[in-house]
């Protein structure tokens, strides 16, 4: 949003951010992201930067990985430097998702259990 006076405001989902995050998110550095104190903005920064790239470049540690035989997909659980965790999964649509899971989760299986609301049915397929 820009006013006639030249003053402007950049926001994503109602959260004020800067121009770089909106227009050139790929130019952010890991240091910029990790120094971000506002957690809402930090989340936006990483989403715009791309979780797989952030995990690759930030030194996140892989805690567990597996081939999900039922769903025919690959998944891996990463712990980031700030202690947050992401389950990175392929989806049957061919996309990669990095799903947040709590810190106490230690394996891909536990991550899936948490994501399913702690109530696991017998998963026969995923489309």
């Amino acid at each position: 949003m820009e006013f006639r006076s030249g003053w402007g405001l950049w926001t994503i989902e109602g959260i004020p951010v800067d121009e770089q995050i909106v227009m050139k998110p790929e130019t952010q550095t890991i240091e910029q992201i990790d120094k971000e104190q506002n957690q809402d903005v930090r989340a936006i920064r990483i989403n715009r930067f791309g979780w797989p790239r952030y995990i690759k470049e930030s030194g996140a540690v892989c805690r567990d990985e597996r081939k999900n035989e039922i769903e025919g997909t690959l998944e891996a659980l990463f712990r980031c430097r700030d202690g947050s965790q992401r389950l990175v999964v392929t989806c049957p649509t061919g996309r990669v998702f990095a799903l947040g899971v709590p810190g106490e989760v230690k394996t891909c299986e536990q991550s899936q259990h948490w994501l399913a609301g702690g109530k696991n049915f017998r998963v026969l397929a995923r489309t």
Partner: protein, 151 residues
């Protein structure tokens, strides 16, 4: 960890290109007659579980409308998990149902129905089954909610 991520990204590209041996984008799937309560599948982030009966705390949706075909609340493309038709469907919902719920509609089917989605493969559910919709938890949303409560 770089190698792991790269393997995952490569795997996703193989799926995307249609070259994966068993996973195809948009591939349909159907519950067989042998499926029983406790069996289920995921269509993206919508879990479809066969149940014995409508859970306690659910109320019938009387005269459901076309809007009720959508099984996930919200206006995003991702939330467009929709029944192909309401014919042969008795629909129940939790008394309180919103974007924070982990359980959604429960459907008693007297006719075969399909759950459709713009990007995920359709799921066919045979007549005679009762299915319960479940939603994937979202850690990021839970963190935002926690922060808002703290503020």
């Amino acid at each position: 960890m770089q190698a792991t991520i790269e393997r995952i990204e490569k795997h996703a590209k193989i799926i995307q290109s249609g070259e994966h041996e068993s996973v195809r984008p948009g591939q349909p799937w159907e519950f067989s007659a042998a499926c029983e309560p406790g069996d289920g599948c995921w269509q993206g982030d919508l879990g479809i579980e066969i149940v014995e009966a409508v859970p306690a705390g659910y109320v019938e949706v009387v005269n459901p409308t076309e809007d009720d075909r959508q099984l996930v609340p919200g206006n995003t493309e991702g939330s467009k998990h929709c029944l192909d038709s309401l014919s042969g469907v008795k629909m129940y919902r939790p008394e309180e149902w919103d974007e924070e719920s982990l359980r959604g509609p429960c459907l008693v089917l007297t006719e075969e129905r399909k759950v459709l989605h713009p990007t995920h493969g359709p799921v066919t559910v045979p007549a005679g089954l009762t299915i319960l919709c479940r939603y994937q938890r979202e850690w990021d949303k839970e963190l935002v909610k926690e922060r808002r409560t703290r503020d």
